[in-house]
Amino acid sequence: MTPGPSSGTGFQKVLDNMTAPKLPGQQSGALFSSAGSSAVLEKSSPAVEFRNIEIAYGKFVAVRDFSLSIQKGSFVTLLGPSGCGKTTILRSIAGLVDISGGQIMIDGRRVDDVPIYKRNIGLVFQSYALFPHKSVFDNVAFGLKYHNVPKSDIERKVGKALEMVRLPGSEKKLPSQLSGGQQQRIALARAIVFEPQVLLLDEPLSALDANMREEMRVEIKKIQKETGITAIFVTHDQEEALSMSDRIVVMNAGAMEQIGAPEEVYEMPATAFVADFLGKANMLAGTVSKSDGPTATVTLAAGQTVKVVSPKPLSPGAPVTVVVRPEKLSLESGAMANRLTGRVASTSYLGGSATYEIDIGGKRTVRVNTQINGRVVREGGAINIGFDPAGCVLLDEKGIRIS
């Protein structure tokens, strides 16, 4: 079996290519003219690579100087606030928007000039984008038909894909006869059935209700693992990003802020933006009052002093921002090194845990998220909070993590 560009993965095993594992691209030629040498390329070239791309809508630059390399079979999430250019980047891979600078490579081949219909990419839209006038079968078979898959194979592959998304037997239904979650499953089946090189998902879960969303999260991740397809997922939901991704790309205003594994991005935010956007960290501004090797003492704007562990010696008098995650703060901590005293401004009881907004003076409130053992502290109650000196991240005056 000669491996095609995406065949080193488990894809074939799952979708069972049977006798002739012909990839659509190999038939149409142009795109995979180097398919023979792809066995070599495969190891060396990432599935998708952006090199300093820039995308402009008229005069407005939506994405600037964006470089990213995505490994084969990985699940990468573009995370960022609304309007930061996530969709634009995704559409540029598919060829739905033109880049005004830089290069995009898919499997090591430049695709800037490859038209959309030859790019071999699976797209899942937020709005499902199922063809309302076609049955589920015709929707899923659509990509196969235009990738010259023989009729006899189409039926089998559609059946397999529908099984994969747990909707076997729904071939004859119209999209309107399905629920939102089911429609999104069909959209997913439709996007993966023709074995694209990359699967692009643009906020596929945001139109679903909360329960469905969680279920689909697990399911998408499972299918991605099974097929081994490279997936690029766009969301502005941090929970989605953290739970599904191998790597997260945090974006802000058309540029990349940080890239890394979920834990990395969460535990060690590179910038103030990432710290704030992911998990709403507490940002306590202050100045270094004493520096002693790896530990330093910081005087906060509200007057308290805290001890922090810094990866690099700090010079006294330097302004720093101490970033502490709400979960890293604990209540009534007798033994904790850093103790802040405050008053509960608001309490959100969340079942097993509670979130408090605590006024620590100086017009600052600190958010604490903690397991409830004992009683829930109500609004107005005085409270002590503390955190481990090593449990925080320090940012310099430009908002960049000190490392």
Partner: protein, 322 residues
């Protein structure tokens, strides 16, 4: 206890009423001076003027016409109230009338089809263009309506006639030695009807194109369709409801036309509308004129009904797209 939104709103608006909803307490629809929000009586009051107008100026005249079909024609301008089926008998047996009816339907169908073919492209263009001032293009569609329909029809005489622009130009250029007979035939009538009906067709198609979710086209393209294939698979089928509505509209309007054949056609090109006019205005035969009117009314109504039934289905399909 579930509180329906209607009731809640009604309660919210009420003045002086008790606003507490306590579980287990009987929930009554709160009213203000005996009226509830969305009161059916209010709906009737709002519809009444239109309803009254429709009854007085549409339903009643048609009913009177229907009665007239059974009156006896004595001589030009004179009829008696003696009831007879002679008019209907005449219509049903005389092939003269059948010929007219058939020709009218044929010309109307041809006009509608031509409208469909010629109208789809401009509609598609307006929809697809990235031109910033799309509204201007749509406005251009409506501009013809600013000029009286009769004047617009007359203008064709100056274009197609023996002394018209085309003939004069061709004669001057020496391409022809005698004026081409372009006016006062069925072709001229159809051209006139096209001129009148194309904007309706274009607007109908445009509206249905505009309701197509453009991500569907992106989806089709990403799955390997060229632009042309995406059009055939997605855009065309989803715009068919608009095309169908346009066809029906053009067909009915063309079949009921009277001015255009009168001005641009010869006697042989008269349509059913002209026949009715002739029967009433020239022969002063009101009972027969009424019979023919009712016939046209029923026939076109029949087409519209069948069509709407079929279109109702495709409309559902279209609704799913949005």
């Amino acid at each position: 206890m579930k509180i329906s939104p209607t009731i809640t709103v009604a309660a919210g608006l009420s003045t002086g009423a008790d606003k507490r909803h306590e579980d287990g307490q009987m929930l009554r629809v709160r009213t203000t001076k005996g009226w509830t929000l969305y009161d059916p009586r209010l709906a009737w009051m709002l519809v009444a003027p239109v309803l009254l107008l429709l009854i007085i100026f549409l339903v009643l005249p048609i009913a009177v016409m229907a009665v007239y079909t059974f009156f006896t024609f004595v001589t030009a301008g004179v009829e008696t109230g003696t009831l007879t089926t002679a008019n209907w008998h005449e219509f049903l047996t005389d092939s003269y009338y059948h010929g007219f009816l058939w020709k009218t339907l044929r010309v109307a169908a041809m006009t509608a089809l031509l409208c469909g073919v010629l109208g789809y492209f401009p509609a598609y263009f307006i929809w697809a263009t990235t031109f910033k001032h799309k509204w201007l293009l749509l406005l251009l569609l409506i501009v013809p309506f600013w000029i009286s329909f009769t004047i617009r029809t007359f203008s064709w005489i100056n274009i197609l006639g023996e002394q018209g622009v085309i003939n004069v130009a061709l004669l001057k250029m020496g391409i022809i030695s005698e004026p081409l007979p372009m006016l006062y035939n069925e072709g001229a009538v159809i051209v006139g009807l096209l001129h009148f009906l194309l904007p309706y067709m274009i607007l109908n198609v445009y509206v249905s194109l505009e309701s197509i979710d453009r991500t569907l086209i992106s989806a089709a393209r990403s799955m390997g369709c060229t632009s042309a294939q995406a059009f055939r698979e997605v855009t065309l089928p989803l715009s068919l409801p608009g095309l169908a509505a346009g066809l029906l509209l053009c067909f009915v309007l063309a079949a009921g036309s009277y001015v255009t054949p009168q001005l641009l056609g010869s006697g042989r090109d008269a349509l059913f509308g002209n026949l009715i006019s002739d029967t009433i205005m020239e022969q002063l035969n009101w009972p027969m004129g009424a019979t023919l009117s009712i016939v046209l009314f029923v026939v076109l109504g029949f087409f519209a009904a069948i069509y709407t039934r079929y279109m109702g289905m495709s409309q559902i399909v279209k609704g799913l797209g949005g």
